[in-house]
Symmetry: C2
Subunit: 131 residues, 2 copies
């Protein structure tokens, strides 16, 4: 069962520039910033209620986030739902024949995670996370 | 001060078709469905933790949501933050010279609402709502 909206991922060109809006205008606090070399991104997590805004800046070419930025520009990238059992969620999705990006969960910034394919979910890239 | 992520708006072609994923696969409950004639949309709200997913289906041509669907296809459309003072948030944004869509709050599905322009916020359409 899904417990909450864990975070909303937003692709930006430069995280430091995006702080002017997300941190300084919205007033959200940055509680983590990290480089994820295997995904080719710099990421920052900002707290909003029980959820987070995840800012994603590509730091390598030819990654998913870099291609997104090139093709669509800055903007909303994905939704992540928190679950207490990421294996079960993924099995259920695959059991329904939904397209997935990850065939099994893997470690990510939010815990054990996996992504469904946007064509499974009306154009929205969906992540499940078990913190 | 922003209290939480009130909802995430997702544009879909047909709400009934999108229920197969958002209601039946994710297991989210639909707690409201409504027609908003002045915005030319049918909207459904699904509960996820303390937040909501808002599905938006255009029911009239030449509206913002219809144009979005034509241009970008189904997908993530906007983020709505809950505030206890929508007038103050909007004044603060305009005071910083940020581009806005609404120069003053107006009644919406989530209470008194207003939208900033996506160019104010790195390509993300941002809504403030005071329920």
């Amino acid at each position: 069962m899904l417990k909450k909206l864990h975070h909303v991922g937003i692709v930006v060109r430069h995280i430091e520039a995006a702080y002017a809006f997300y941190r300084d205008t919205l007033g959200l606090s940055v509680h983590k910033q990290d480089i994820l070399p295997d995904q080719g991104v710099k990421a920052a997590l900002l707290t909003i209620g029980a959820s987070e805004i995840e800012l994603l800046e590509p730091i390598a070419a030819h990654t998913g986030v870099a291609r997104f930025l090139e093709r669509r520009g800055e903007g909303l990238h994905h939704l992540c739902f928190e679950t207490d059992d990421v294996v079960r969620e993924l099995d259920a999705a695959q059991g329904k024949g939904l397209a997935v990006i990850d065939r099994q969960p893997r470690p990510g910034l939010a815990g054990m995670i996996c992504f469904l394919h946007p064509k499974a979910s009306h154009g929205v890239l969906i992540e499940y996370a078990q913190p």
